[in-house]
Assembly symmetry: C2
Homo-oligomer: 181 residues x 2
DNA sequence: GTCTATATCTCGATAGAC
DNA sequence: GTCTATCGAGATATAGAC
């Protein structure tokens, strides 16, 4: 691992946050450069094109979610609860990274879609290994996906619109896994 | 109800499909006009701005999903199964309409977000009335949302990635509602 | 390694012919 | 009611100074 220049990291973070927080359209080269504190020309020294910027983001995505998978596999409450618990968007760096890649995938980016699908298959494997049954594992995955999608499009929360807390959702997950709450 | 001109309908359909199938960025005035078979100037005669185009789409959304809610309330299998069953994206007009509004909401449009939230609260009410319990209703809603989101970002299906059919997901829903499969 | 300047393209919207 | 022509803003990307 060669230590990447500081500006490179700052540019990737700026790109991630702009896409996640203000949408793909807001993440212009100029806006990304400004948020990272460099000029447009400076950005284009590190990433020769917008596509290169995306490629850099997907590399970070794969690396960070490989680590997250380790945490999920080792969680004392089990992968299912870990997955659903962390599917509530709370604005962490990892949340923003996921949402950014999700938005790019929804925007039509094929490599983003592939990176996302690979990560999700990994999660499904862990949940299935825990609950034994494929359909139940899928149902739990879908709940997590729904939670993420719902809580990530701008501050809306199941608490607000559906009157249900995360703990109550987790209790339903426990009913499915057979774990006592 | 005044009968709207044919071109108006064609433009709204073109806008809906471009947003749903190729993303918000692809839905430029020129692309929408071309898909509807008119010129950019022709489009701007019917809709004076891009915002007016969005407003027209949201009106169609509200009208069509008010009708869908009637079907959901009257479904012989019950609202929960109806909801999850129809949450699998199959590319119908109603599917494309929902995905289009979802994408616009995710892109930051406040009116799109409001229209979506109102519709989802309506669904939640029906599901809760059926299952009795708020948390269970929310869990079912989340499964549907997850299914929609997953199956709508370009052809991916739970069957393909998770090895689970819609019927198997519905069986899990039945476990939650207490209905026998 | 970072900047300014600029070329080129595409977007939304206007104007006016038909 | 629909078209072509065009404007002004803002986008990506290039060139070259420092």
């Amino acid at each position: 691992m060669s230590r990447p220049p500081k500006a490179r990291e700052a540019l990737l973070s700026a790109y991630r946050d702009l896409v996640a927080l203000e949408g793909e359209r807001a993440a212009t080269l100029e806006a990304v450069a400004a948020r990272a504190g460099v000029s447009k020309g400076g950005l284009l020294y590190h990433f020769g094109s917008k596509e290169a910027l995306l490629k850099g983001l997907l590399e970070a995505f794969r690396a960070d979610f490989a680590l997250d998978r380790e945490l999920m596999a080792a969680d004392p409450e089990g992968p299912s609860r870990y997955f659903v618990r962390t599917s509530l968007y709370t604005g962490t760096e990892l949340d923003r990274l996921f949402v950014a890649v999700l938005r790019l995938a929804q925007g039509g980016s094929v490599p983003a879609r592939e990176a996302l699908a690979a990560t999700e298959r990994g999660w499904h494997e862990l949940v299935r290994a825990e609950v034994g049954d494929t359909a139940t594992a899928t149902a739990i995955m879908l709940m997590g996906e729904g939670l993420y999608q719902y809580s990530s499009y701008s501050g809306a929360r199941p608490e607000a619109d559906f009157g249900t807390s995360l703990d109550e959702v987790l209790a339903v997950v426990d009913r499915l896994t057979g774990r006592r709450s």
